[in-house]
């Protein structure tokens, strides 16, 4: 991934309406629908499909960013 964490974080923040997620960087606060929205957008932007296991092994958005970097590598 050529993008920085700041850019990735901004992408996810733009997807998640704050009224649904108090802290978008904590994945445990996402609803199942929000997870699908993020997974869909990651696929569209980075051509990477995030599995349920991969997503739920992450605590923070930063963890997810690292997963994506490793998947692409």
């Amino acid at each position: 991934m050529n993008e920085s964490y700041t850019e990735f974080s901004a992408l996810v923040k733009g997807l998640l309406d704050p009224k649904f997620s108090s802290d978008y960087e904590r994945i445990e606060t996402w609803t199942s629908m929000q997870s699908l929205i993020v997974v869909s957008s990651i696929d569209e932007h980075y051509d990477l499909v995030v599995t349920y296991e991969e997503l739920h092994a992450c605590n923070t958005l930063k963890d997810l960013f690292e997963v994506l970097k490793n998947k692409q590598a």
């Binding site: 309406d17 009224k19 649904f20 609803t31 199942s32 629908m33 929000q34 997870s35 699908l36 929205i37 997974v39 869909s40 696929d43 569209e44 499909v49 995030v50 599995t51 349920y52 997503l55």
Partner: protein, 336 residues
């Protein structure tokens, strides 16, 4: 690799029947207003059709078939083969195809066969029937595809209850040496069989009683993102048909977010990808013919069209087909 073509078979008619009863997702209980709004936005599903207690998939398919056969002016004793695709048969034994052979007044010389398939069922059923007719020279065949899937849904399960609807459809096929080839690409991944499953009530877990459908939504979503567009791309390449020459891409109506992602991967305009999720929800194996009848009825009756149809889900099974339709019989959607 199940990438193949079938010659000499033409689709000559399609019909669909839905239950009259409309249930709105806006009336769902046990979910906050905000989450409900997000659910409707993401899935695209606002209203669903639920069959009455006494109505089964066989009844909906029967209504669709009766209407279609009458408009086709087919003589019942000319029908050589009937295939019924469902996961919600009337009985454990015998299959729905045998019941419908009698109910539709088809001759005892008719071959009747059931296929247990889910969301990819329309494409799989079409492949079985067209291959059978092409290789044998059987002249007239009927494909009935339908489910009353809401009968195996737990109404309190918010991962499945807001998604599914009931429907029955009928498709008529004819042997015709001048028909354009049908192209198929069919795939399976049984390793993920438990992503959508009714675990109880079959021979494996009989004592557990009647089961309900359980679905791991994220797994199905990831599967759809990964597999469907690439399956269609491979099919188009194999067929050597110019993708610009495809008039419509009729996708299984899974959920709006997934179908939109697939559409973007295919690089086609929204106008070429009809949608019935909002008004009818996910009618299981019947979504493709329901969407055809509901959304492109007039075009199918009047025009020469090339369609890609793609089904994906339970199994996991997925598959696509390219068909040419040239002025088919397509009655208006039936409500029962």
């Amino acid at each position: 690799m199940a990438l193949f073509s079938i010659s000499d078979i033409r689709i000559v008619g399609v019909s669909a029947a839905l239950p009259k009863q409309v249930v709105s997702n806006r009336d769902l209980k046990g979910i906050s207003e905000q989450d409900l709004e997000l659910l409707i936005d993401t899935t695209g599903i606002e209203n669903r059709r639920i069959a009455e207690k006494e109505t089964c998939a066989s009844d909906l398919c029967f209504a669709a078939a009766e209407k279609l056969l009458n408009e086709l002016h087919w003589k019942r004793d000319e029908i050589d083969v009937l295939i019924f695709v469902t996961q919600t048969p009337d009985f454990q034994v015998p299959g729905n195809s045998m019941l419908l052979q009698e109910k539709l007044g088809l001759p005892t010389t008719c071959l009747a066969l059931d296929v247990n398939q889910g969301c990819a069922g329309y494409v799989y059923g079409l492949s079985v029937l067209s291959a059978m007719m092409s290789s044998s020279g059987l002249k007239k065949g009927l494909l009935l595809v339908g489910d009353t899937i809401t009968k195996i849904i737990d109404g309190s399960d918010n991962s499945t209850a807001p998604i599914f609807s009931d429907a029955g459809t009928a498709t008529a096929l004819e042997f015709d040496k001048n028909a354009k080839a049908l192209y198929y690409n069919l795939q399976t991944n049984g390793a993920k069989h438990d992503a959508i499953i009714v675990k109880d009530g079959g021979a494996r877990n009989q004592s557990a009683g009647r089961g309900s459908l359980a679905m791991r939504g994220h797994d199905i979503f990831a599967f759809g993102l990964k597999e469907v567009a690439s399956n269609i791309h491979a099919l188009l390449e194999y067929s050597k048909i110019d993708p610009h020459g495809i008039d419509y891409f009729v996708l299984h109506q899974a959920n709006m977010l997934l179908n939109e992602s697939i559409r973007k991967k295919l690089g086609v305009d929204k106008e070429k990808v009809p949608n019935t999720l909002t008004k009818y929800g996910n009618t299981s194996c019947a979504t493709i013919p329901v969407t055809m009848v509901s959304e492109i009825n007039k075009a199918m009756r009047k025009n020469d069209l090339n369609l890609v149809m793609s089904g994906f889900g339970v199994g996991l099974s997925w598959g696509s087909v390219i068909v040419n339709l040239n002025g088919i019989i397509c009655p208006e959607l039936i409500e029962l």
